[in-house]
């Protein structure tokens, strides 16, 4: 049965339902309901909750928990995720699965606590060192958030990589009816990598990211690249309402995709044939959604609560095939559907 759930609480409940056994975190608005929920419920479900002394400590506890073979999770918000990035790079190199939830607020710097999407680059490019990627899921409803959190754990274990779920502060704070629908759990053979004791097995598992031999380190980078290739092949998710005959395509993710949905309805009512593409995975990015647009499409408009980040991926995907426009608001200001409509009308007018 669906109950009214706050985004942050729903994500936490879904993680516990998915069998998450340890949560390590450090408080920061607007995601505090996650550690608050976990502090009460983790113990009840036989798991571990630790409020670490810092974000850096928390992400390294994740490294330890994952190395021991546990399903582990941390959560934070923008400046807190920034502090975790060194740890994320290490987790990638050591091939350790975990879930990192990022509830984005305004930056740069300490910024503000209001909703934002200015950490698209932070999630998809990362600030850690080295050639790495992390799968990034961006739900736009609370139901979808509960589904994707469970999926994220599976994907993390299947490919042995950290996985991120990013939400804007709006989704973390809002309430919507949702029901946690358990999905089958990936059968994770932790004996392959975890430092869980040698009994019944020959040879030790060593979890490490240091590799001082050039040829060996290159091999390890190539292996990682193979993993990323598989993820790109198998894990892209998006939604598209684009139809043959549409002239304008709006691209948006997270809660702003719902605002864009209102704008698309209004534009259609005004006779401007418009479709919406909503990336669900930000990495791997749904290039094909843009590359396979019908020839009727003349313009693409990307709307984000940032100065323009996903717009770069749209341009890369289209590779100059179509003009790509941008509309964004920042600082915690959230665009109205009317603002998107106005921008779209300006583009449609300019094209005639």
């Amino acid at each position: 049965m669906k109950t009214l759930m706050k985004g942050n609480e729903a994500v936490s409940a879904a993680a516990i339902a998915a069998g998450c056994k340890a949560f390590f975190g450090y408080p920061i608005t607007p995601q505090n309901e996650i550690p608050e929920y976990m502090s009460a419920k983790m113990a009840e479900s036989g798991g571990v909750f630790v409020q670490a002394e810092s974000e850096i400590a928390a992400i390294n506890m994740i490294y330890g928990g994952a190395a021991a073979g546990a399903r582990v999770m941390t959560s934070s918000s923008s400046p807190g995720i920034a502090l975790k990035q060194e740890g994320i790079s290490y987790l990638c190199a050591a091939r350790l699965p975990c879930l990192i939830v990022s509830v984005m607020r305004c930056g740069p710097g300490l910024g503000g606590i209001l909703p934002s999407q200015a950490d698209y680059f932070q999630a998809t490019r990362g600030g850690g060192n080295g050639d790495y990627n992390t799968p990034v899921y961006a739900p736009n409803s609370i139901q979808e958030a509960t589904d994707l959190v469970q999926k994220a754990f599976n994907v993390a274990e299947q490919y042995r990589t950290p996985v991120m779920v990013v939400m804007d502060g709006l989704l973390g704070q809002m309430m919507e009816p949702a029901e946690i629908k358990p999905i089958p759990r990936f059968k994770n053979d932790t004996d392959k990598y975890a430092t869980n004791g040698e009994s019944g097995r020959r040879g030790r598992n060593i979890v490490n990211s240091l590799n001082l031999q050039a040829a060996a380190l290159e091999q390890s980078n190539l292996r990682l690249a193979e993993v990323y290739k598989e993820i790109i092949k198998n894990e892209v998710m998006y939604e598209s309402t684009v139809e043959d005959g549409d002239e304008l395509v709006i691209a948006a993710y997270g809660t702003p995709s719902r605002i864009a949905q209102n704008a698309v309805a209004e534009l259609r009512a005004r006779g401007i044939k418009t479709g919406l593409i909503r990336p669900v995975t930000l990495w791997p990015f749904p290039d094909l959604a843009f590359q396979s647009l019908p020839s009727s499409v003349k313009n693409v408009l990307v709307c984000e609560l940032s100065m323009g980040q996903m717009v770069q991926d749209v341009r890369l995907a289209l590779n100059g095939k179509l003009p790509v426009h941008f509309y964004g608001r920042t600082g915690g200001v959230i665009f109205e559907p009317e603002e998107i409509v106005e921008k779209a009308l300006e583009i449609a007018g300019g094209g005639q």
Binding site: K2, T3, L4, P30, I113, L114, G169, L170, Q173, M174, M175, E176, P177, T255, R258, I259, Q261, N262, A265, G332, I334, E336, P337, E338
Partner: protein, 181 residues
């Protein structure tokens, strides 16, 4: 149906709770709902508001920043700020105990309710002023039965506050009885 509600007041007046209860009433009828709080450096005595949308269709933006069918103003600053958000033909519900002015607009209706005074004088608990306001709102929706209302109160407040349910039901009834159109 597509009900768009904005509820605003001082932090601590219970605007957010009233919004959650309304959202739950619709949810229990199988309607899609969203509840979105303003959040920021909120504090007791500061301002707080929430958007509630209930719709048969898919809900896009969860923010009610225009075209509100209902605006509930628990205090004067909320009326100043959100009267313009009401849709033409919409209804503004005023807590006349502390909202001293009437509406500036001629194209919206009003429901007046002496919510804070009723809570203090009649119910001896200022905390239920939001429930009196909720009662005034429910005069627009007589389809919700007392059983449905009691159910959402029970779900929201749980066993530890069970003793307070009758007081809340009384406050809602009083809001229904005293709402003046």
């Amino acid at each position: 149906m597509n009900e768009r509600i904005l509820i605003a007041g001082f932090g601590g007046q219970g605007a957010l709770t009233a919004g959650q209860l309304i959202a739950s009433l619709y949810l229990n009828r199988g309607v899609n709902v969203t509840w979105m709080p303003s959040y920021g450096a909120e504090m007791r005595g500061g301002t707080a508001n929430c958007s509630v949308i209930a719709s048969d269709g898919v809900i896009g933006s969860p923010i009610v920043s225009a075209n509100a069918g209902i605006v509930m103003a628990l205090n004067s600053p909320s009326l100043d700020k959100f009267e313009p958000v009401a849709a033409p033909g919409g209804t503004v519900i005023l807590n006349t105990s502390i909202v001293t002015r009437g509406l500036k607009r001629g194209d919206v209706k009003s429901i007046k309710i002496d919510a804070s005074n009723i809570a203090v004088n009649e119910l001896k608990n200022i905390k239920v002023a939001n429930m009196v306001m909720l009662g005034a709102y429910l005069t627009l929706h007589p389809e919700f039965t007392d059983d449905e209302i009691e159910r959402v109160l029970n779900d929201r407040f749980g066993a530890k506050a069970a003793a307070l349910i009758p007081l809340n039901m009384k406050a809602i009834a009083s809001g229904k009885a005293n709402a003046a159109r």
